[in-house]
């Protein structure tokens, strides 16, 4: 596995390798995702890349019927909505991601706190292909 830098694009490079990376402050231990050079808690500049387990739980979500332009280009619409949410990783920090394999026909039944595990989705083709973090129920 390659070494990742603090540059934000390396978060997506890691996703290509199937890894969810972030950072840990070497002074106070605060975890961040995605990785950042400067700790938001103690302002230390000493941090290192860490790998997350990829496990977490759902903090908040929505099922989107009126998609963003790029999500509509990949086939989502009012008849084919999608779920996105904020996921609290087991290690602490939270991150936004698409949530797969939920019964989105009944959003009222989707439970905050649902245990999730990471996966990835790719949209677009060839030069326009882009990888995204996603989660699915355990």
């Amino acid at each position: 596995m390659e070494n990742y830098s603090m540059n934000s694009n390396d978060f997506f490079k890691a996703l290509e390798d199937g890894a969810l990376i972030g950072s840990r402050c070497l002074d106070c231990g605060t975890m961040a995702v995605p990785q950042r050079q400067i700790c938001s808690k103690c302002l230390s500049s000493k941090s290192k890349i860490v790998h997350y387990s990829g496990n977490g739980s759902l903090s908040a979500f929505t099922v989107i019927s009126v998609p963003s332009m790029w999500m509509s280009e990949v086939g989502y619409n009012g008849k084919n909505p999608y779920c996105v949410g904020v996921v609290a990783l087991d290690e602490g920090p939270k991150i936004s991601a698409q949530i797969l394999d939920m019964d989105i026909s009944m959003p009222e039944n989707i439970q905050i706190g649902t245990k999730l595990t990471m996966t990835t989705v790719s949209h677009g083709e060839d030069g326009n292909r882009k990888i995204h973090l996603a989660f699915k129920p355990v």
């Binding site: 934000s8 908040a60 929505t62 099922v63 019927s65 963003s68 332009m69 509509s72 999608y82 959003p107």
Partner: protein
């Protein structure tokens, strides 16, 4: 604290609005001129030669109209070149921030008279392109790429709020009904119809077309029916969302000591605060907006007031959940009580805590760059007893505005007072 360092008092001498709505024939400069003329009419002794600077709040004329560098164009269009002209962008808080920056420039002693404008011309793009343009106010690399839209951000906050406080979706509908009722009394508002009017007109249309007539017994039933009120981002429906709008707003900010030389109806800016935040996942919880809590703390401290002192407030109801969260962030209600207050009518015009008497963003319209100054226009009218049918009773003297950028990455809170 920085909020205590103002060297001079600041007053709002005059205000103006364009009509908000969707106007094929008007672009930013036309809307702005309309609002500017409305401002001139609000003052008894306006003198354009006294204006020293122009601060413009505008989110993205670059994306909406392919026109950047808008401030000098607008200054020229109202004949005020070569005054200092600049544009401030903080997403949907752009003109609330511009107003605060203009106040700071006056408080520093640099200027005595600053024109503050806000404008956005949004309907020139298709709805998908508007959604895309607005999404650039979020973290495009890590949030928008996940598939989030702006309704999606607030919808996610709504699910967190409902989960934490066992709140019902009915509370959102009450905000929608109230703000539509208020907006129907505002001649500048985009929407003149109440939810009741819309429901009844849909029934009439069904009769005319010979279709089965929906059996909605009241507005809540109508809003709960996806046939009447389609889903946008669960649990936010069409009528939970503010519209895409064109519009402009203008305020003339002056140093306190010259206010009465220009107008008989000034209001005084006695508190101001602004704060920032990271993206949604960085917040400890997702049912409040920390930047709003911090901005209001600064504003209350500067004004030496508490939330109970506020007689009338205009808050950033880009979505119905946003109004409920705002009323808690501002300290009007305890955390988790805002949704009950909405159902009980406490935030209606005749309630104990009138919020968004203008109709709010939801009903008046949300031309994003114009919204912050637009809120001040309503507070100026309410404090001067000029809000006509919308006038809050009991002689309101203290008003507050709460203007949010993005999903809470920026918040600016200003407090105003009428004297005498």
């Amino acid at each position: 604290m920085s909020e205590l360092k103002w060297k001079k008092g600041v007053a709002v001498a005059g205000v103006g609005l364009s009509k908000f709505g969707a106007f094929k024939e008007k672009n930013s400069r036309d809307l702005f001129v309309e609002a500017y003329q409305d401002m001139i009419n609000s003052m008894q002794r306006y003198n354009p030669e006294k204006v020293e600077a122009f601060y413009l709040g505008n989110f993205s004329s670059d994306q909406f109209e392919k026109q950047a560098h808008l401030a000098p164009i607008l200054a020229s269009w109202i004949g005020l070149s070569p005054i200092t002209a600049l544009r401030i962008e903080d997403a949907c808080a752009s003109s609330g921030v511009a107003l605060r920056q203009a106040a700071l420039a006056i408080a520093s002693g640099q200027y005595d008279v600053v024109l503050v404008g806000g404008v956005e011309k949004m309907t020139s793009l298709e709805i998908a392109a508007v959604t895309e343009a607005l999404a650039t106010a979020a973290d495009t690399q890590f949030e928008v790429s996940a598939g989030f839209t702006f309704p999606g951000f607030y919808a996610a906050m709504a699910t967190a709020y409902m989960h934490e406080f066992q709140a019902s979706r009915e509370a959102f509908y009450h905000v929608s009904i109230k703000n539509r009722n208020n907006g129907a009394l505002n001649e500048y508002a985009q929407f003149g119809q109440t939810i009741f009017d819309i429901m009844e007109s849909k029934k009439r249309r069904a009769v005319q077309k010979g279709l089965p007539v929906p059996e909605w017994k009241d507005e809540i039933e109508f809003l709960s029916d996806p046939k009447g009120n389609p889903m946008v981002a669960w649990p936010m429906t069409l009528f939970d969302c503010s519209p895409v709008s064109d519009g402009a707003a203008v305020a003339l900010l002056v140093s306190e000591e010259i206010a009465s030389s220009l107008t008989d109806t000034p209001i005084y800016m006695i508190g101001s605060g602004q704060a920032s935040d990271g993206a949604l996942p960085e917040r400890e919880n997702l049912y409040s907006i920390p930047a709003a809590v911090e901005a209001s703390r600064q504003a209350y401290q500067m004004a030496n007031l508490t939330p109970d002192d506020i007689d009338v407030a205009e808050v950033h109801d880009c979505f119905t959940i946003a109004e409920i969260i705002a009323t808690e962030d501002l300290g009007f209600f305890e955390r988790g009580e805002g949704w009950k207050a909405a159902i009980e009518g406490k935030t209606s015009r005749d309630g104990s805590r009138p919020v968004n008497t203008s109709g709010g963003l939801k009903s008046k319209g949300h031309p994003v760059g114009a919204t912050g100054v637009g809120q001040i226009v309503e507070i100026w009218k309410q404090l001067n007893g000029l809000a006509e049918e919308r006038q809050v009773q009991g002689d309101p003297k203290i008003g507050l505005t709460h203007n949010v950028g993005g999903s809470g990455q920026t918040c600016v809170v200003n407090i105003f007072e009428r004297r005498g």
